[in-house]
C-alpha cells in the first residue's frame, strides 16, 4: 500500500511540473511575441495543454471516481472552449484592424479579402440591376 502511494505521488508530481513548464512557456510567449495574433496562438495552445496536465496530475494523486469525473469535466470544458474563445477574439481583432507583424506573410489573407470584396460588388451590381 505504501509503495503504490509513492508511485502515484511521483507520477502526479511529474505531470504537474510538466504542466507548470507549459504554463511558463505560454506566459513567456504572451510577454515576448511581437503582435496580437502570435500571442493569441501561444496562450491558447500552451495554456490548454498546461492546464490539462496540471489538473490530470491532481486527479492521479487523489485516485477517486468523483474526482476523476470532475477532472474530466474540466479538461473537456477547456478543450472545447479555448479554441472557440480564441477564434472569437481573433475575428474581432481582424474586424477592428488590429495591426499584423511586419514579417507576417499576408498574401493568402489579402487574396481572400479581395475575392470577398469582389463577390460583394457583384451582389450589389445584381441588386441594382433588379431595381
Amino acid at each position: 500500500m505504501e509503495e503504490t502511494s509513492h508511485i502515484r505521488e511521483t507520477i502526479s508530481a511529474v505531470f504537474i511540473l510538466a504542466g507548470v513548464i507549459f504554463m511558463v512557456i505560454a506566459t513567456i510567449g504572451l510577454l515576448r511575441f511581437p503582435d496580437f495574433y502570435s500571442r493569441m496562438s501561444a496562450i491558447t495552445k500552451g495554456a490548454t495543454l498546461g492546464l490539462g496536465l496540471i489538473v490530470g496530475g491532481m486527479g492521479i494523486y487523489f485516485n477517486l471516481p468523483d474526482m476523476s469525473l470532475k477532472v474530466t469535466l474540466i479538461i473537456c470544458f477547456i478543450t472545447i472552449t479555448a479554441p472557440v474563445a480564441a477564434h472569437v477574439m481573433a475575428r474581432t481583432a481582424v474586424r477592428n484592424k488590429v495591426s499584423f507583424w511586419h514579417k507576417t506573410d499576408l498574401k493568402e489573407f489579402e487574396d481572400y479579402m479581395h475575392e470577398k470584396h469582389l463577390e460583394k460588388l457583384k451582389e450589389q451590381d445584381k441588386e441594382s440591376k433588379k431595381a
Binding site: 504537474i16 506566459t27 504572451l30 510577454l31 498546461g50 477574439m89
Partner: protein, 89 residues
C-alpha cells in the same frame, strides 16, 4: 515536508511568477484584445494554482472552484469580445 509537497510548493511559486508576468502584459498591452487574451491566461493560471492547492491540502472541495472559474473565464472573454465588436463598429 515530503518531496511531493516540496515540488507542489515550487509549482505554486512558479505559477505566481507567471501571474506577475501576465499582469505586466495586461498593463502594457497596446490594444484591448491584448488585454482580453491576458485576462484569459490569468484565469487559466488561477485554475492551475487552485488545482495544485487542492492536491497540496488534500481537501477535495476546492476543485469545484476550478470548474466554476473555467466556465466564467470563457464567458468573460466572449462577452468582452462581443463588447469590442459592438463598440468599434
Amino acid at each position: 515536508m515530503t518531496l511531493f509537497q516540496l515540488s507542489l510548493l515550487a509549482a505554486i511559486v512558479v505559477l505566481s511568477l507567471c501571474l506577475v508576468l501576465v499582469a505586466i502584459r495586461f498593463a502594457i498591452g497596446p490594444t484591448l484584445p491584448d488585454r482580453i487574451s491576458a485576462f484569459d491566461l490569468f484565469v487559466a493560471n488561477v485554475i492551475g494554482i487552485i488545482a495544485i492547492y487542492t492536491a497540496f491540502t488534500g481537501h477535495q472541495d476546492f476543485i469545484d472552484v476550478g470548474i466554476i472559474l473555467s466556465l466564467f473565464g470563457f464567458l468573460g472573454s466572449i462577452s468582452f469580445a462581443y463588447y469590442i465588436m459592438k463598440t468599434y463598429q
